[in-house]
Symmetry: D2
Subunit: 319 residues, 4 copies
């Protein structure tokens, strides 16, 4: 290949810029030209594509969000949209594409690959929910953002002897809630992967109070229910007052942690290596402490499994 492209797609996640930087510089290192596609698949269709030099990705490794922007694109789901995209890429001389994003972005990348245009996927999402990789870019930063918020809430909870419900992101995957619950010393964690028992939860709250705990924290993944709904149920069931904090969009932003920058760098570089071998349809990941590449289809057909040992341990330690 003589020229490749790179785009970010789906929800932004901290560390995407480190991945973009790695793609660009690794390509240049191998003597390959590289272009940035702006605003995801939408930009691909519209030809919003610019050549990038090594200096263009300087000073971005520490920035949150994505310098290539992101956007949703309904048109790209259609055959017409995909053909337009390929046309644009041909016009720009692109022979391969690195797609940084979540499983939805991977589907688009697979569609292009099947149409003869090789794409490689890099997992960028704070949800850590992509099958085939132990970690995704952005998860570690989001997790630390949640932990900082819990630490702040704990100050207030302790001062006022209160119970707090903290709602974190996670429609289908409980990773963020699980890790944050264990690291934040939460009494109870509610995740989509596990049915919850409201009686047990209330029992734990009441026992904690009797034991002299000045605060209790419940973490709930948004996929289970909203924090305010949980508050209402606890109130109804046991007449316990709780406060709710919905962390929301702050979980997506911020300067990436060291780990997310390293992960982004490793993944971006590997994606270029795989692509330069002329192989498409591969996804990059970290599996058992090794950077790997695997069939991209797995990422949206297999199931992601959260590490349930964290769930068990969290319960044991929150006594």
């Amino acid at each position: 290949m003589k020229k490749i492209g790179v785009l970010t797609s789906g929800g932004d996640s901290p560390g995407m810029n480190a991945a973009v930087r790695a793609v660009v510089r690794k390509a240049i290192y191998h003597g390959v030209e590289v272009a940035g596609v702006y605003s995801g698949y939408q930009g691909l269709i519209e030809g919003n594509i610019k050549n990038l030099e090594a200096g263009d990705v300087g000073d971005i490794i520490q920035r949150g969000g994505t310098k290539l922007y992101s956007a949703r694109c309904e048109e790209f789901r259609t055959e017409a949209g995909q053909l337009k995209a390929i046309e644009q890429m041909k016009k720009e001389g692109l022979e391969g594409l690195v797609v940084i994003g979540g499983d939805g972005s991977y589907r688009g990348a697979m569609a292009l690959t099947k149409r003869g245009f090789p794409c490689v996927g890099v997992p960028g999402t704070i949800d850590n929910d992509i099958p085939g990789t132990d970690y995704t870019i952005g998860f570690d930063t989001a997790l630390n953002t949640v932990i900082e918020a819990i630490d702040k809430i704990r100050d207030t909870a302790t001062s006022h002897e209160r119970t707090f419900i903290v709602e974190v992101m996670g429609r289908d995957a409980g990773d963020l809630a699980l890790w944050a619950g264990l690291a934040g010393g939460a009494e109870t964690i509610l995740i989509p992967e596990e049915s919850y028992d409201i009686d047990d939860m209330i029992d734990r709250l009441q026992k904690g109070r009797k034991r002299g705990k000045r605060h209790s924290i419940i973490i709930v993944a948004e996929g289970v229910m909203g924090g305010n709904e949980l508050k209402a149920r606890i109130k109804e069931k046991a007449d316990i007052e709780t406060r709710v904090s919905v962390l929301g969009h702050i979980q997506r932003g911020g300067s990436p942690t060291a780990r997310d920058r390293v992960l982004g760098s490793l993944f971006g570089a590997r994606a270029v290596e795989v692509l330069l071998e002329g192989v498409g349809g591969r996804a990059i990941g970290m599996k058992n402490h090794q950077v790997v590449d695997y069939d991209m289809t797995e990422a949206f057909t297999a199931e992601h499994n959260a590490d349930m040992s964290l769930y068990t341990l969290s319960k044991e330690l929150a006594i």
Copy 2:
């Protein structure tokens, strides 16, 4: 005086611990004994009071919340409650009391003072809404927490070209919204002190977009309306999609900034000086860059005025 007490009351705020430390050590410095009253006026009534040595307030200057805890207390609003409190203080040999809290806490302190038990008030609240002082302890920390959240949200807003509504604390006072709006580069700030013009707000949003701004941020103080309500109004009026972030309880917590630690130290020390002169019914504050004490009644009868020049400037700079 031979012995004084100190308590924290109302919503906790970062820097209260610095004030407690200053009260304790300044008293000891002057050869006066000091006791901590736990859980605010409730603890005063119940006699939840313990002697404090210099070492007991070591390593707390950097902690959020309040080591003396806080609580609401209906009983203290009654004569019976206040008489119980005075009885407890006599039992402990307390001759004066430093009350760290907001205007509600000051009312209680004034009631005790009128019953012959001298109290001095120290302004501890993140709202910055106490008349007679330019700053309250906790405001600076809360403000920086809001700013960090806005910086995170901006990452995402820029990446996705979105408009965000950020709801911050402030029932009656717009200080937090004003300062955060200016420091966060917000397009629009809605505060209780100023009627808002939704057409102007929408106009600014649309002009910003035309000018090529990739993100817009609207700060709304909770006292004006909820973030979700504002979202609905904008949607209804102009069919513009916005995202809402309700910052909530994280605004109260966290390790205090340097300024709040210094303010807490200055105020706590001054409170002891005033109290040791045998004077009650005074409030401590910062006025025109000087630590001052003034009639505590002013703090709950006069009106707090937000600095509206920040409002005007913010509008001029958000072009």
Copy 3:
């Protein structure tokens, strides 16, 4: 005036970008064109000047350093250099200049003013050492950086029962050491403004240990002596082992605090107002909680006085 320029000079400080943004947008708000001069007076001489629009200073309010860069410039101290600078400014159509920097930068601004080219100074330095203003842009951020470092060092000091010497910036002014010492709960603060008594310092260390303190922290401003030199003296005098941490350059960087962003915004805007009145030779400052402008000469002829009440209080509270 129809067009003005803005430059940053001397050591960079967090919040300079907020000031630049305010200058640019306030000028545009008043219908005046504005140009950025890059790399300080060096850029002025070389004509490294570019027109700035409102959008050019978007997304910089939260960034550390200065987007206009800074540099030392020997040539500008000469008449020849200054005349070249004026020539360049005439070529660009600039009729006035806002100079953001320390007292050295002010001297240059005064020289231009005297040559008939009106300049207004904005105090940007982490040292807080400019006479005529209670605060300079960057001081608050540097102070919080120091405090975070002390908090980290305290963890280790407590765990190992150690005494730490923390060397902070401050050649001639002890403000940073003073505020950091009070906010960080240091046992001893050494500043250029006050002669130190090594026997008293050692006495305090030894008393603290006897009282059961697990850690001791000494803050020394670099202008007094280096941390390693102090360590040697303490070792020699009392055979006490200490550890040294020289904070160094991290004190200049980082995203500005809310206060420094607000200060930068207020000062930058006021500088434009003053300049548009056709007045040169003025410096902007905050005096007794008011934004003021005053004769720039005062800034480099009068003496800066640190707030010594912090010094006294710090000693009283570190018992």
Copy 4:
């Protein structure tokens, strides 16, 4: 076993408290009593041992340092010291001990095990240099502290077009320098594991400048040479001015990251499980994304290998 002990030893590292909390609560969960040994092996010899309940380790998961304190202990290296320690433990009814620390601490634990008193080791050190585990508790926090410092230094470096040398911890292991260099976008990384080529380093600096880079950052692990020594060599060799920042002790402190809290929790809990099986002489670690236990002797006889792929990648990306 009916009762076990836990101690922290060697340099403190963030996340040790999470490990202590996990040991205590996991033991209690299994119906086993647990005691904390204060100030490491010194406290063991002196019988500085206290029973711990679940509540005693509440609110410590977020704290830096170690609540059990740490200390060096020469006496424990002798047979007499070790026998005293065993006597004390028998007196307290301890039947096993969890030792949290580095490889030096492991040697002590192995000595006790060989004398019939089973110990299990938990890797707590910021250096990440313990053979048999991919990560140690505290490394991730230290790494992020370094990254934040580099981000701050980069602000200043960019503003002034300077080259900075950042000296980080690491006597024998380059992990911290390697990860920080990659995540911080450093031009050059000097680690003990790799001989350095000063000509290549200078060549890279000069090429970067030609390419228009406004800043260059060199990371040097203290085990290679001091930052000031490197500055002198570069000056001598190529007459390039650099600035030095020695990060020092701040690298050990701070609230632990989410990852270090999770790692501490997982490791502490596993240590209890292993110990309760009556097995001594085992070390806990994370290997290929799994919590494992292995022969403790390996930890101080085998060699730690830094991940040199990070070194190569860093060079490729810093073009």
